[in-house]
C-alpha cells in the first residue's frame, strides 16, 4: 500500500504491507534503527517517536495510518556534532547504562516538555492547576518509558537540566 510519511523533515514514499507498524517501517524499511523495539506492545516505551510533535508508541500504530504525517525519530533530534539540549543533559547526568531505552526516553522527554508547556495535566497535577516541572510530575509523565538498567534518578535529573537549558 502506498504511503508517504515525512520523517525528520524528509518526505519518504513507502509501498508496504498494511500490517507494517510505524516502528517496523522506520527500522526495517527506512533503516532508521534509533527507535527501538522492546516489548512491541506499548508497555516499554523504547519505540517512542513524535508524530506531528506528539509522542506515541510507534509499535502500536500502523504505518499506513500515518500517511501525510510528520514523524520525528531520535535521528532527527540532534547529531553527534550538534546535540540537542536533551541529549546533552542525558550525557551530562549519565542518564543511561546500556542505552537501549534512551532514544525512546529522549523522544518521550521532548513530548513531555511540550505537554507541560501546553498545560496537559497528569495524575500529579492538582485539580484545576497548571502543571509544573516537579520531580513527581516528571516521574509520572515518564512512566510509559521503562529503563531496565534503572537509571531513573539520573533520567529525572537530565529532564530537569534539559528543561532549564531550553527555557
Amino acid at each position: 500500500m502506498q504511503t508517504t510519511i515525512t520523517v525528520n523533515g524528509q518526505a519518504r514514499a513507502l509501498d508496504i504491507d498494511p500490517r507494517t507498524t510505524l516502528l517496523d517501517a522506520l527500522r526495517e524499511h527506512l533503516r532508521l534503527t534509533g527507535s527501538k523495539k522492546g516489548c512491541d506492545h506499548g508497555q516499554c516505551g523504547a519505540c517512542t517517536v513524535l508524530v506531528n510533535g506528539v509522542r506515541i508508541n510507534s509499535c502500536l500504530s500502523l504505518a499506513v495510518m500515518h500517511d501525510g504525517d510528520q514523524v520525528t525519530t531520535i535521528e532527527g533530534v540532534g547529531t553527534p556534532e550538534a546535540l540537542h539540549p536533551v541529549q546533552t543533559a542525558f550525557l551530562t547526568q549519565d542518564a543511561y547504562q546500556c542505552g537501549y531505552c534512551t532514544p525512546g526516553q529522549i523522544c518521550s522527554t521532548l513530548g513531555l516538555l511540550r505537554e507541560l508547556e501546553a498545560g496537559v495535566p497528569s495524575q500529579e497535577t492538582p485539580a484545576g492547576a497548571r502543571p509544573v516541572l516537579s520531580d513527581a510530575e516528571i516521574r509520572e509523565r515518564m512512566s510509559g518509558n521503562i529503563c531496565r538498567c534503572s537509571a531513573y534518578p539520573q533520567i529525572v535529573a537530565a529532564i530537569r537540566d534539559a528543561a532549564g537549558s531550553m527555557a
Binding site: P18, R19, P121
Partner: protein
C-alpha cells in the same frame, strides 16, 4: 498479525456502510488496544476502516451546560480540555489515571469505550476463555482470578472492563451518540452501552454490527464535588484492581464488573441519609467473589467511603 486490508474513511456515513458491507471489518482510530490484540491474533479483522481522521474530534460546550466530546478526540485532548477540567474534573482525573502519556495521546474516546478486557485468560491463547473462544470455558473461575469481577459476573465469564474513563462517564450520566449502518443517529445512556457477560461474554456491547460511536455527550454536572480514585499494584501505568468515580451523589465503580458499574444501591442509601460506609456496604451486599479476589470487597468498601468523603470535601 493476520493479513487485512485497510482504508481511510472519508466520512462517517461511508465508514458505517463499509463496515457492514465488508466481511470481518473493524473500525480503528488510535489502535492502541486493537493492534496489541491483533499482534497476538486474539483480534483477527479482515479489513480495517480508519475513522481516526474523521471530523469528530471536537469538544464543544452545549447550551444546557453540558459538553459534547467527539468520538475521535484523543484521551489527552479530553483530559486537558479547560471545560472538562473546570466542570467535569472526575473525567480528567479518570483519564490521566489510565495508560501512559504515549497511549493517551493516541487512544480515542470511542476506542477507550470499546477496549477489551485485560483478563489474563483472554490474553493467553493457550488457555480456555469464553470471550475469546466461545464455548471453551473460563480459566479464571478456578484459576488466577485476583482481578475478576465481583458484580454481575456469570459462570461463563468473570472478566472486568478495564477503562478508567468509562467509569467517570458512567458517574456523569453520559450519553453515547452513534451512527447506525442505515445512516441514522441514535443516542442512549452509557449504562446501556456495555453488557453483562451472561452466556455470551464475546458480545460486549449493545451496538449493532457496523454502528459507530460518534460522540459522548455529558449533561450538566450534578451538584456536589467530583473525584476519581483508583487502586493498583504500581503507582502509575498499571491496570486497576478497583476504582471509583464520584460526581455529587452519583457513584460508579471500575474494574469490578464486565461494565462500568453504577452503584445504584449505594446512591439510594446515600440519598436516604446513610453514611458513605453504610452506603457502599449496601452495594457490596450484592457482591460475590471467587477466592483470590475476595480482597476486592473490603478494598472497594474503604475506597468508596474515602472517595465520597473527599468529594463531599471538594463540593463544600
Amino acid at each position: 498479525m493476520r493479513p487485512f486490508t485497510y482504508e481511510r474513511a472519508t466520512d462517517a456515513q461511508s465508514a458505517v456502510r463499509a463496515a457492514v458491507e465488508t466481511p470481518g471489518a473493524r473500525f480503528i482510530a488510535g489502535g492502541t488496544n486493537l493492534l496489541d490484540l491483533m499482534k497476538l491474533e486474539i483480534e483477527q479483522p479482515q479489513h480495517l476502516i480508519d475513522v481516526g481522521r474523521l471530523p469528530m474530534a471536537g469538544i464543544e460546550s452545549l447550551a444546557d451546560g453540558g459538553l459534547r466530546i467527539g468520538g475521535a478526540a484523543t484521551n489527552t485532548a479530553v483530559a486537558s480540555d479547560p471545560a472538562v477540567r473546570a466542570r467535569f474534573p472526575v473525567l480528567s482525573e479518570a483519564i490521566v489515571a489510565g495508560g501512559s502519556p504515549q497511549l493517551r495521546n493516541k487512544a480515542s474516546v470511542a476506542g477507550n469505550l470499546m477496549q477489551r478486557t485485560r483478563c489474563a485468560y483472554f490474553y493467553d491463547t493457550a488457555k480456555p476463555c469464553n470471550k475469546r473462544a466461545p464455548g471453551s470455558g473460563c480459566g479464571a473461575l478456578e484459576g488466577l482470578n485476583r482481578n475478576a469481577a465481583i458484580f454481575g459476573a456469570s459462570h461463563a465469564c468473570v472478566a472486568t472492563h478495564p477503562s478508567d474513563m468509562a467509569v467517570a462517564l458512567a458517574a456523569l450520566d453520559a450519553r453515547i451518540e452513534t451512527l447506525t449502518p442505515s445512516g441514522e443517529s441514535r443516542s442512549f445512556t452509557i449504562l446501556d452501552l456495555h453488557r453483562l457477560p451472561g452466556e455470551t461474554p464475546q458480545i460486549e456491547t449493545h451496538l449493532i454490527a457496523g454502528e459507530l460511536i460518534t460522540a459522548v455527550v455529558l449533561p450538566p454536572p450534578p451538584p456536589g464535588g467530583q473525584v476519581y480514585r483508583k487502586v493498583r499494584d504500581r503507582a502509575s501505568y498499571a491496570g486497576g484492581l478497583a476504582s471509583v468515580a464520584v460526581a455529587g451523589g452519583q457513584v460508579a465503580l471500575g474494574m469490578v464488573a464486565h461494565k462500568p458499574w453504577r452503584a445504584a444501591e449505594a446512591e439510594g442509601a446515600l440519598a436516604s441519609g446513610a453514611s458513605p460506609a453504610e452506603a457502599i456496604a449496601r452495594e457490596l451486599d450484592g457482591a460475590s467473589t471467587l477466592g483470590r479476589n475476595d480482597f476486592k470487597v473490603p478494598l472497594v468498601a474503604r475506597l468508596v467511603a474515602a472517595a465520597i468523603g473527599e468529594a463531599n470535601g471538594r463540593g463544600a
